[in-house]
């Protein structure tokens, strides 16, 4: 059994209440930080821990925190990104729903470290009942002196509020989130300036994912060095993975970073193997935006080494033969699934969610959806594959925010690894309506030079 730092207590009856959470050792990190540490010392522990952002990009949290501008007389803000809308990802919801005080505790300790006196949790509008769970937890924290004025008699003041979106994936992008939090449309902002300099209401702001903020609790409790002992290389600590698709045991798992993908996928402790005794066809290991990898690259890298559940190993080989850990949304496809259909489905998602500000993204996502639909429904031509390749290439890197890249990568990866399946659809339009292509043929890999 791997160590669990975030969700080991989720099954304790009543853990969603303050009393039980406190009895189980909750809010110790607040006591420790506020009473025995300076804010900079907390930041230092987070740096030592090697914690990396759990929202998708994996940027080192301690470093991000140290970029926060601190001009005199201007308030700073911590904003928790609980927008969780990346297809395949449902881990933050699990944490907030089951053990809401964990996030509240992390918000207090992190806000103290950053010198914020007002902080916000922005949760997607569809999680309205979770918003109410959080509000209840926050009210309890106020009632017990962990929020409000002069917390624990230390002179530190903090107000914490929850607000929500109303259905828009783009609001997970941090600058769109800030726009939305200001009560506007979720249009991403041009960067720079970065939120660390000009964020919420043009004040210095840190935006962190739910899980990132939660991880600060064990880091402060046990020290950054202890945290960094878990994991492998620059992938330290534990990670919540939400597993779904054709597996026996979909759900949310906390893993120690660095366990073999094979163990995660096949052991009974985690996914429990492919459902109905089918064969594995492919895997999207980090949410819909990351490249799909064919079965023979899931458990092994192109070099033939064991692939591990870590930032580095999952991206080993770059986009040619790797993918990304991303948000930890682990989607598994069995031999009956159609890659063309799935790619079309994701393309539709990105077309729907594009905010429309940049033409490559707005027009490109629509074109990709149309061309993919054409191929999937038996009206494709061979040139369409090259057209798709061309469109995705023109989006990537040419937009205000990374949604454009996120829309391009899945299409590129599907063509890269499953070109024969696209061609088969085009050559067998009738057959493709009733039958699936099945498993991709094993390819012999030329090692990247």
């Amino acid at each position: 059994m791997g160590r669990k730092l975030l969700i080991d207590k989720v099954n304790v009856p009543g853990i969603e209440t303050y009393d039980v959470y406190r009895k189980e050792g909750g809010y110790r990190s607040v006591e420790k930080a506020l009473k025995t540490m300076t804010p900079d010392e907390v930041v230092e522990e987070v740096k030592k821990s090697g914690l990396r952002g759990r929202g998708g990009a994996g940027f080192p949290t301690g470093m991000k925190w140290s970029f926060l501008a601190k001009p005199e007389g201007i308030p700073r803000y911590l904003v928790c990104n609980a927008d969780e809308s990346e297809p395949g990802t449902f881990k933050d919801r699990y944490l907030m729903e089951k053990i809401p005080h964990f996030l509240v505790e992390g918000m207090i300790t992190s806000s103290y470290a950053l010198g914020a006196n007002t902080s916000y949790i922005y949760i997607r509008g569809e999680y309205m009942w979770v918003l109410h769970i959080l509000e209840k937890a926050i009210a309890e924290a106020y009632a017990n002196g962990f929020l409000g004025k002069n917390i624990l008699g230390t002179g530190y003041n903090l107000d914490l509020h929850v607000t929500c979106g109303a259905g828009a994936y783009i609001c997970g992008e941090e600058t769109a989130l800030l726009e939305s939090l200001e009560g506007k449309r979720g249009n991403p902002r041009m960067k720079p300036p970065f939120p660390a300099v000009k964020g919420l209401w043009q004040s210095p702001t840190v935006v962190n994912n739910v899980e990132t903020i939660a991880a600060v609790v064990p880091i402060v409790n046990d020290g950054g060095e202890e945290y960094a002992k878990i994991g492998i290389g620059k992938s330290t600590g534990t990670k919540l993975i939400s597993a779904c698709g054709n597996i026996n045991k979909p759900g949310v798992y906390e893993i120690e970073l660095g366990i073999p993908v094979e163990e995660f996928l096949y052991s009974d402790e985690y996914c429990g193997g492919i459902k109905n005794g089918k064969k594995l066809k492919a895997c999207v290991p980090g949410g819909s935006s990351v490249p799909i990898i064919p079965h023979f690259l899931v458990c092994k890298t192109a070099k033939g080494e064991d692939r591990l559940m870590s930032y580095e190993s999952l991206s080993d080989g770059g986009f040619a033969t790797g993918s990304m850990l991303g948000s930890g949304g682990f989607i598994v496809y069995d031999e009956d699934q159609c890659v063309v259909r799935n790619t079309w489905n994701f393309a539709r998602f990105y077309r729907h969610e594009s905010c429309g500000q940049c033409s490559p993204c707005r027009e490109g996502t629509g074109w990709m959806e149309k061309v993919l639909y054409k191929i999937e429904t038996g009206h494709g031509q061979m040139e369409d594959i090259d057209l798709l390749w061309d469109i995705q290439r023109r989006i990537e890197g040419n937009t205000i925010c990374p949604l454009g890249d996120a829309a391009a990568w899945p299409v590129a990866a599907a063509i890269r690894h499953f070109r024969e399946e696209f061609e088969w659809h085009i050559k067998n339009p009738q057959l493709a309506q009733t039958k699936n292509y099945g498993l991709v043929a094993e390819k012999v890999f030329e090692m990247a030079q």
């Binding site: 308030p75 969780e84 809308s85 990346e86 297809p87 395949g88 990802t89 449902f90 933050d92 919801r93 007002t118 997607r124 509008g125 569809e126 999680y127 309205m128 009942w129 107000d159 509020h161 607000t163 929500c164 979106g165 109303a166 259905g167 828009a168 994936y169 939305s180 939090l181 200001e182 009560g183 506007k184 449309r185 979720g186 209401w201 939400s242 597993a243 779904c244 698709g245 054709n246 979909p250 759900g251 949310v252 819909s288 949304g329 989607i331 496809y333 699934q337 259909r341 799935n342 489905n345 994701f346 998602f349 729907h352 969610e353």
Partner: protein, 168 residues
């Protein structure tokens, strides 16, 4: 019921909540509460946001009406046209699709006898396909009001429809 049948005014409890929410932001930044307040308005005024309702929200929040319109039309959870009393938001994104979301949509379409985005003649039900709702491991699923219905089958959806029909 459309919002024109009733006086557009927040109930005392909602008005209190609206005031509290606006107070959660620094002086002059209360526009931040707009998204939550629109959810409250939509719920109280018949499940959608008419221009009268949006104007009322603008007035209560001391915003220009356009500031409310542009937000209401950006986010998928706000309806600017009337809907059924119950709206089934069926997730049709990848992970749900491989667990049978499409079949579920087809079943709902047949069962209710209305196309995506339309409302049954009795005004009771609408349905639409929506993007990932963060329940991919519990697929297929739909959202109904503030709740998620997960691990669905056509039979469970039929049951749900019957339940809702029998509720007054």
């Amino acid at each position: 019921m459309t919002s024109t049948d009733q006086k557009i005014e927040f109930s005392p409890e909602n008005m209190q909540l609206v005031k509290r929410l606006m107070g959660e932001y620094p002086e002059g930044k209360h526009k931040s509460a707009l998204l939550r307040i629109l959810h409250i308005a939509q719920r109280q005024f018949g499940g959608w946001l008419s221009s009268d309702v949006m104007d009322y929200v603008a007035e209560v929040m001391n915003l220009k009406p356009i500031e409310v319109y542009e937000v209401a039309t950006f986010y998928s959870m706000y309806f600017t046209k009337p809907t059924g009393k119950y709206v089934f938001d069926v997730c049709h994104t990848g992970p749900c699709a491989i667990e049978g979301a499409e079949k579920l949509c087809n079943h709902i379409e047949k069962r209710l006898g209305v196309k995506e985005g339309e409302t049954t003649a009795d005004g009771m039900f609408s349905w639409r396909g929506v993007e990932c709702l963060g329940a991919c491991g519990y697929a297929p699923m739909l959202q109904l009001g503030d709740s998620f219905r997960e691990f669905l089958t056509p039979e469970k959806v039929d049951q749900l429809i019957e339940e809702l029909k029998n509720k007054v």
